[in-house]
């Protein structure tokens, strides 16, 4: 049975993303949710985490390469990050893991139990989700001086 995703289900992922980015010295603002025809269009670094339990599907994060470097720098206490090497990609996948893990903590307090997979990371140009079988909702997380992080939730309850 598939029911529509409610804001109560999506919100913990956004809150969690905003809190975590805040800990790394960014000032994130949660934007308006949308259901774009091509989620994550144009993003150059995309993380994918599988979700099972009371909800199933995937949670994606997408960002530009330029933003990925800035975010990793923030995660490393401001150290300069010149290239998106293996360590930097590991940091981005860990960011996705923390966003979904912390969202799972919030949802568990509402009685919604989730398990998450280790993250997969995809890089390239002109990426985007073209055909998801689950309805996907995209929400921008805006930050000053950055293009912004896109959180894309494709979950069925």
């Amino acid at each position: 049975m598939t029911t529509t995703l409610t804001p109560q289900v999506i919100h913990p992922f956004l809150e969690s993303a905003a809190n975590i980015l805040g800990m790394f010295q960014f000032a994130p603002r949660i934007g308006e949710p949308a259901e774009p025809a091509k989620p994550l269009a144009g993003k150059e670094v995309i993380t994918v985490i599988g979700v099972t339990g009371h909800m199933r599907g995937q949670v994606y994060t997408g960002m530009s390469q330029k933003d990925a470097l800035k975010i990793v720098s923030g995660m490393m206490g401001g150290a300069e990050v010149p290239e998106l090497n293996e360590m930097a990609l590991s940091a981005i996948s860990e960011l996705a893991n923390m966003i979904c893990g912390n969202a799972a903590i919030h949802l568990s307090q509402e009685g919604v139990t989730l398990d998450i997979s280790p993250p997969t990371i995809i890089t390239g140009n002109a990426l985007g989700v073209v055909a998801a079988r689950l309805k996907t909702t995209s929400i921008p997380i805006c930050m000053d001086g950055l293009d912004g992080l896109e959180i894309c939730v494709a979950l069925e309850v």
């Binding site: 360590m87 860990e94 799972a104 903590i105 139990t113 398990d115 998450i116 997979s117 280790p118």
Partner: protein
Amino acid sequence: MAKIMVVDDAAFMRMMLGEILRNAGHEVVGEAANGLEAIEQYAICKPDLVTMDITMPVMEGIDAVKQIKRNDPSARIIMCSAMGQQSMVVQSIQAGARDFIVKPFQSDRVLEAIGKAMASA
């Protein structure tokens, strides 16, 4: 100062934790990227303490804690995971972990947990 093994599938987290530990005067004697590697490495490097992630490929952290505690009942293990819901904390403590740190963490919290675990038998 303690001999510590860091278990996390993310190289980034192993690096960050390693830095926090070394800066505080601890020695990182081993690293592992999944639960199975952790069990093997534990037997080889015999650390005073282990930091253990939960969500990892091959074998997740709570199963690894159970096996390590079976092999060495005195093992000191601190969980370090983004999956900090109560059920995970309870399962970890039941498996034999001493403490649970939720990621993202502050270095003080990590060092405090290690200090506490090292102070007890």
